[in-house]
């Protein structure tokens, strides 16, 4: 077993997250899929940090976590305010900009 296994696992997780974003309609679940994609990228960063023997990959993963936390806070607040006005958390219902 080599480090490649980790990278392939991260790629598969990323793909599952991306497919989830495309398939699911619930905005919160879509958000969770985005989180899964960020996590898989973190796994890649940590793996490459180990491969190259430098700590920088872990620092990047750390920053990704910080940005993800901030993004989740704002995103969930947006979902809540959309839910308050439209009584729905489905991404299909927020289409007012179309008209």
């Amino acid at each position: 077993m080599t480090l490649t296994y980790y990278l392939v696992l991260a790629a598969i997780l990323f793909t599952i997250g991306a497919v989830g974003v495309l398939v699911r309609r619930n905005a919160i679940v879509v958000f969770m899929c985005v989180e899964l994609m960020l996590n898989s990228v973190n796994l890649t960063l940590v793996t490459f940090a180990r491969a190259t023997g430098t700590i920088d990959g872990q620092i990047m993963a750390f920053f990704v976590m910080v940005v993800a936390a901030a993004e989740v806070v704002v995103g969930l607040a947006i979902i809540m305010s959309i839910y308050r006005t439209r009584r729905s958390a489905s991404v299909d219902d927020a289409n007012l900009l179309k008209y």
Binding site: T2, I16, V23, V46, R50, F62, A70, A77
Partner: protein, 268 residues
């Protein structure tokens, strides 16, 4: 040159890798949003163990604390606020979108996975040495506060912006006075209903639930035998004794708002 990893790590990978994959698939496939969140917690815990195994113990701890501890709880909070029953609709907005997305996923996974597997076949498992073990946190701190100092400072601006943004977005503006106070709500609840509360049991004439209130003998005096040992008899707050037609159990007597009897305790 291909370096193989240790046997213990192989076991960890083959146990936790399928668990992480199952968590991701379960998240996408489960109808209930809360089940999705729990599946995702599963995957994130597995990834946290992967970080620890891969010489990043600090990131592993942060993963478990921040992701599974904070972010997923935030997700669950919002799910509870938005309503658990807001599950997905089965209706496809665009025809064939699901099939197309799944085909795209297979293609993407095959392409990227094969590409990565081919490109990193000779990837050395160099390892971080001491920076991956005991010295992991000092190494991260040294790098974070020297090379990445600017990014670290900008992070603080990002976090404060996110906090303020969330407060602004989740804030509801109410006109002052448009919200009923607790007293008004209580009055509306008790004065309009036929039976505002449960009736006391037969023979009960309690006006306070404190153990310091002594029982009253038929002649009106206190019964010393009813007092618990070690408690000074005192006059705690009691409901006003109803007089006249304001009998016990009537809404007015329960609220004590109309014609309140004095609370001096001398009318026992």
């Amino acid at each position: 040159m291909t370096e193989t990893l240790g046997g213990g790590e192989t076991v960890v990978f083959w146990v936790l890798g399928p668990i992480a994959l199952a968590g991701a698939l379960g998240m996408v496939l489960s109808r209930n949003a809360i089940h999705s969140a729990l599946w995702l917690v599963n995957t994130m815990l597995a990834l946290g163990v992967f970080y620890v195994v891969q010489e990043a113990p600090f990131l592993g701890a942060v993963q478990i604390i921040v992701y599974t501890g904070a972010i997923m709880i935030l997700f669950l909070f919002v799910l509870m606020l938005v309503g658990r029953d807001s599950s997905d609709s089965v209706v496809e907005t665009l025809r064939g979108q699901r099939v197309a997305a799944i085909l795209l996923g297979f293609g993407f996974a095959g392409l990227v996975g094969a590409g990565i597997a081919e490109a990193t076949r000779d990837l050395p498992a160099g390892g971080l040495g001491d920076e991956g073990g005991i010295g992991n946190i000092p190494a991260i701190a040294e790098s974070l506060f020297t090379d990445y100092l600017l990014a670290f400072e900008v992070t603080s601006a990002l976090l404060i912006t996110a906090a303020v943004g969330a407060m602004v977005l989740a804030h509801i503006e109410r006109e002052p006075g448009s919200r009923r106070t607790q007293k008004e709500l209580s009055r509306a609840r008790f004065l309009t209903s036929d039976q505002p509360q449960t009736h006391p049991g037969p023979g009960v004439f309690a006006r306070a639930n404190s153990v310091a209130v002594p029982a009253i003998l038929p002649d009106g005096s206190r019964s010393e035998a009813s007092l618990a040992t070690g408690i000074e008899p005192e006059d705690p707050d009691e409901m006003p004794r109803p007089t006249g037609r304001r009998q016990l159990g009537s809404p007015d007597a329960a609220l004590g708002t109309l014609d309140p009897a004095p609370l001096d305790g001398n009318d026992r």
